[in-house]
C-alpha cells in the first residue's frame, strides 16, 4: 500500500509544471521540454489537436447552416462573447460561453476566453511588434506604475529567438521606437494604403505607416517545415484553425514540438485550484488540480512552476493559493496582487472613402490585414495633455457593390454583375492605458463556480487619460485622412468596453522592489522563487504594441534562466 502511494506520487512528479497551454504556456512547454525537463502542461479545457480538431476549417460559406451568422438565442445567451468580432458560426466552438464560466463585472468588462488546448492562440489577430526602450522606460519617464526591471537590451535577443521559430512577416522599417526583428518577407501595402503612407510622411515627417507585422509564414524557413507548417495560403479564415499551420499557434507549433521531445505530458480538463506552498522548504512544491469531468482533486509536484493561465486567471489562481505564510495569495506580501490591471484602449475607430486610384483593386487576401501606424504621440517627449500614445491599424479595400433595387431578371442580373466601389479606408486605435491601483481584480468571498473556484470580480474602467487619447486619435486621423483627400470621414467613439481589446494585462507585475511589485526581472515571484509568471499578468505597463510577442520572448527568457538555476542547484 505504501509502495503504491510512493509510485503514485512518483507518477505525479515532474521536473516542471506549466499551467495553461495558450501562447505563453505553449512557449514554456517547448523551452522546458527541449532543455530536457519532464514537463506537465495543465489545460483547463478540452484538447484541440492541430488540424484534426478544426471542424470548420475547410467549410465553404454555403456549408454553414446560417451562412456564418449565429442564431439569435446563442447571441443573446452570450452577450460577452458575442461582442468579440470573431464570435461567429465558424469559430464559436473555440470561445467560452458566458453561462459556463461566470465572473462578476463591478464595471462593464468583456472577458473573452478560449478554454482549450492552445487557448486564444487559435483565435488571436496575429499582430506582432517588438517593444522599444521608449516603452520599457515609459513608467519611469512619465511617473506611473513602477519602473520596468528590464530594458530592450535584456529582451532583444529573445525577441529574435521567438520570431525565428514562430515566423513573423514584416519589413525592416528602421524605426527606433518599433525595432526591426527577424522577419520573413512582409505583406506589401495595397495601392490606397501605400498612397496614404506617402501623403502622411510628406506632411508630418515622423508619422509612419508600415506593413503590419504578423505571425504568418509568408515564406517558410526550414524550421517551420520541421514544425509541419507550410506557407500561409491567404485564406484569412484563421479563427477556424489553419490546416496549413500558416499562422503561429500553440497547436500548430510549440506544443507538437514539445511533444516530439518525449518530455511532454499534456493534461486537458485540469483546472488548477492552487499552487501548493511548503513552508519548511520555503518554496512551491506543486499544484492542486481539479479534474473538470470527475471533480477529483489531484496533486502534481515539480521543482519549478510556470503560471501561464492567461492574465486574469493567473491572478485568480495565485490569489486563491493561500497558506499561513501567504494568507492573501502566493507571493502577495505587499497586497498589490490583482491591482494595476491595464488593457488597451480600443474605444475609437474611423473610416473614410477615396475616389482616386480607380485603376487598382486587390486580388486574393492579405493575412496581415493591411498597414500599422506605430505610435507617434509623446514618443521622444511629452507633447499632449494626455500621457503615452496609441498605435493604429489601417486597412484599405474596395468592396463589390450591387444595385439591389427592384426585383426580377434585372435584379438577378445586377446581383451577378457587381461593380467596384470606391476605396474604403478604416483605422482603429490601440492605446496604452495607465495601470492604476483602482483598476483591479479580486476574488468574491462567497460565490463559486462549478468546480468550487471563487468567482473573479473585475473592476476596470477607462479614465480621463483614455478619453483624451481617444479624442486625439479621432482628431489626428481625421486630419491625416483629410490631407490624403479622403471623403465621407466617419468616426465612432465609445465603441468597446475594457476587455474587448482582449489585451488585459497586469495584476502580478514585474519590478525591482518586492515592496511595490510581485515579480523580479526574471519573472520569478519575489517571495517564492520557483514560481514564474510569464503571461499577460506580469506586465508592468502595456505600451501600445500587441502584447503576445513580448509574452513569448519573456517566457523563453525566463525558462532559460529557470533551467540554469535548476541545473546549478539554486532552484
Amino acid at each position: 500500500m505504501s509502495n503504491l502511494n510512493i509510485d503514485s506520487v512518483k507518477q505525479r512528479t515532474f521536473d516542471a509544471i506549466v499551467i495553461g497551454s495558450g501562447i505563453s504556456g505553449g512557449w514554456a512547454a517547448k523551452e522546458l521540454t527541449e532543455k530536457g525537463l519532464k514537463t506537465l502542461v495543465l489545460e483547463r479545457g478540452r484538447d484541440v489537436k492541430h488540424v484534426v480538431d478544426y471542424p470548420t476549417t475547410n467549410m465553404y460559406p454555403y456549408e454553414f447552416e446560417h451562412r456564418g451568422e449565429l442564431p439569435i438565442d446563442v447571441q443573446k445567451a452570450n452577450p460577452v462573447a458575442n461582442r468579440c468580432y470573431a464570435f461567429k458560426e465558424d469559430s464559436a466552438h473555440f470561445f467560452v460561453k458566458d453561462a459556463e464560466h461566470p465572473y462578476i463585472q463591478e464595471n462593464p468588462f468583456d472577458w473573452i476566453r478560449g478554454y482549450q488546448v492552445g487557448g486564444k492562440s487559435l483565435l488571436w489577430a496575429r499582430q506582432t511588434q517588438r517593444w522599444s526602450d521608449f516603452d520599457f522606460e515609459g513608467p519611469a519617464r512619465d511617473g506611473f506604475a513602477v519602473d520596468w526591471p528590464i530594458r530592450y537590451k535584456d529582451i532583444a535577443l529573445w525577441y529574435s529567438y521567438v520570431e525565428k521559430f514562430a515566423g513573423i512577416a514584416g519589413d525592416k522599417d528602421g524605426l527606433s521606437h518599433l525595432p526591426d526583428g527577424e522577419f520573413l518577407p512582409g505583406y506589401p501595402l495595397n495601392a490606397v494604403e501605400d498612397y496614404f503612407k506617402k501623403k502622411v510622411l510628406d506632411k508630418y515627417g515622423n508619422r509612419h505607416i508600415i506593413s503590419a507585422r504578423c505571425a504568418h509564414l509568408s515564406k517558410p524557413e526550414p524550421v517551420h517545415h520541421q514544425q509541419g507548417r507550410a506557407q500561409c495560403q491567404n485564406r484569412r479564415l484563421c479563427q477556424r484553425g489553419c490546416p496549413f499551420g500558416g499562422y503561429f499557434s500553440s497547436n500548430s507549433s510549440t506544443l507538437p514540438w514539445a511533444e516530439r521531445t518525449g518530455n511532454l505530458t499534456l493534461r486537458p480538463f485540469s483546472v488548477v485550484e492552487s499552487v501548493i506552498y511548503d513552508e519548511q522548504k520555503g518554496k512551491a512544491t506543486g499544484v492542486r488540480v481539479i479534474d473538470t469531468n470527475t471533480k477529483e482533486v489531484i496533486e502534481y509536484y515539480a521543482k519549478i512552476i510556470f503560471v501561464n493561465a492567461s492574465a486574469l486567471n493567473t491572478n485568480l489562481l495565485l490569489l486563491n493559493s493561500t497558506s499561513s505564510r501567504f494568507p492573501n495569495g502566493l507571493g502577495n506580501d505587499n497586497g498589490l496582487m490583482g491591482k494595476y490591471v491595464a488593457f488597451h484602449n480600443y474605444s475609437a475607430r474611423i473610416s473614410a472613402e477615396y475616389e482616386g486610384l480607380q485603376e487598382f483593386t486587390t486580388d486574393g487576401r492579405n493575412p496581415a490585414g493591411g498597414g500599422y501606424i506605430p505610435r507617434f504621440r509623446n514618443v521622444l517627449k511629452q507633447e499632449t495633455d494626455f500621457l503615452r500614445g496609441y498605435a493604429a491599424g489601417l486597412s484599405g479595400f474596395r468592396t463589390l457593390e450591387r444595385d439591389l433595387s427592384g426585383q426580377g431578371p434585372q435584379l438577378k442580373e445586377n446581383l451577378l454583375n457587381p461593380f467596384l466601389g470606391p476605396w474604403h479606408i478604416s483605422s482603429h486605435m490601440m492605446g496604452e492605458t495607465i495601470p492604476k491601483e483602482s483598476n483591479y481584480v479580486s476574488l468574491d468571498s462567497t460565490q463559486k463556480d462549478t468546480w468550487g473556484m471563487p468567482l473573479l470580480k473585475v473592476s476596470v474602467v477607462y479614465d480621463e487619460n483614455d478619453h483624451k487619447m481617444s479624442k486625439d486619435f479621432v482628431d489626428q486621423l481625421t486630419e491625416m485622412f483629410t490631407i490624403a483627400g479622403f471623403s465621407n470621414i466617419q468616426a465612432q467613439t465609445n465603441t468597446r468596453v475594457p476587455g474587448n481589446d482582449i489585451h488585459e494585462m497586469g495584476g502580478v507585475r514585474m519590478g525591482h522592489d518586492p515592496k511595490t511589485s510581485l515579480l523580479n526581472k526574471w519573472n520569478q515571484l519575489h517571495a517564492c522563487k520557483n514560481v514564474f509568471v510569464t503571461d499577460g499578468a506580469c506586465m508592468t505597463s502595456t505600451a501600445s504594441q500587441n502584447p503576445s510577442l513580448t509574452y513569448m520572448a519573456l517566457t523563453a527568457r525566463a525558462v532559460d534562466y529557470a533551467v540554469k538555476q535548476v541545473n546549478n542547484g539554486q532552484l
Partner: protein
C-alpha cells in the same frame, strides 16, 4: 446505416445546405415543409413565400429562387436569427401582402401573373410607410433571399466561384477597363 441514409434522404437542400424537414404528419395538417421552432407558418404561406422569392430572383437561363429552395433558407434564417419582433412582423406582413394582392387584383399573389406580382412588390418597395408590417416582411424576405442566392452552392461554384484557398495577395491588381 439504413437509418442514416433514410434521414439523409429526408434532408432538404436549400441553397446547398441540408435542412431538417418537419415530420410527415405535420404535412397533412398543412404545416411548413421544414422544421421551424419559432415561426408559425403553414404550407400555404410557405408556397406564397416561395413565389415572392421567385419574383425577386426568377428562373432564367440559370436556376432561380424556387429551384434553389431560397424560400426555405429565408424561413430558416427568420426562425433562428431574427428576434420576436421581426418574426411577428414577417408573418403579419406576409398576410398583408396577400391582402394587398386580393385588394388590387382580386386574387391570391400565387395566382397573379409575373407582371402583377412585380407591380405589387414594386409598390411595397417604393411605399412611404417603411415601418409598416408588409414593408418589414418585404425587407427581410428580400435581404435573406439575396443573401441565400449569393451564398448558395450554385452561385458560389458555378457563377461567381468562391476561393477557399486563394494562395496570393496583390494590392495593386489592375482593374480591367470595361
Amino acid at each position: 446505416m439504413q437509418r442514416r441514409s433514410a434521414i439523409k434522404n429526408l434532408m432538404i437542400i436549400a441553397g446547398g445546405i441540408a435542412i431538417l424537414p418537419s415530420c410527415a404528419k405535420d404535412k397533412e395538417k398543412g404545416k411548413a415543409s421544414i422544421q421551424l421552432n419559432n415561426l408559425n407558418i403553414d404550407a400555404e404561406q410557405e408556397k406564397l413565400l416561395a413565389e415572392v422569392s421567385e419574383a425577386f430572383i426568377p428562373t432564367t437561363d440559370t436556376p432561380g429562387a424556387k429551384a434553389l429552395n431560397l424560400h426555405l433558407f429565408v424561413l430558416k434564417m427568420v426562425d433562428d436569427c431574427h428576434d420576436k419582433t421581426d418574426q411577428e412582423g414577417f408573418v403579419a406582413g406576409l398576410s398583408e401582402l396577400e391582402k394587398l394582392s386580393e385588394k388590387r387584383f382580386d386574387k391570391s399573389f400565387v395566382n397573379c401573373s409575373v407582371k402583377e406580382r412585380g407591380e405589387i412588390l414594386k409598390d411595397i418597395e417604393n411605399s412611404k410607410n417603411p415601418s409598416g408590417k408588409v414593408f418589414q416582411f418585404y425587407k427581410i424576405a428580400k435581404d435573406r433571399t439575396i443573401q441565400g442566392y449569393l451564398n448558395s452552392k450554385y452561385v458560389m461554384t458555378e457563377l461567381i466561384p468562391y476561393e477557399l484557398v486563394p494562395g496570393r495577395y496583390n494590392g495593386y491588381f489592375p482593374v480591367k477597363k470595361s
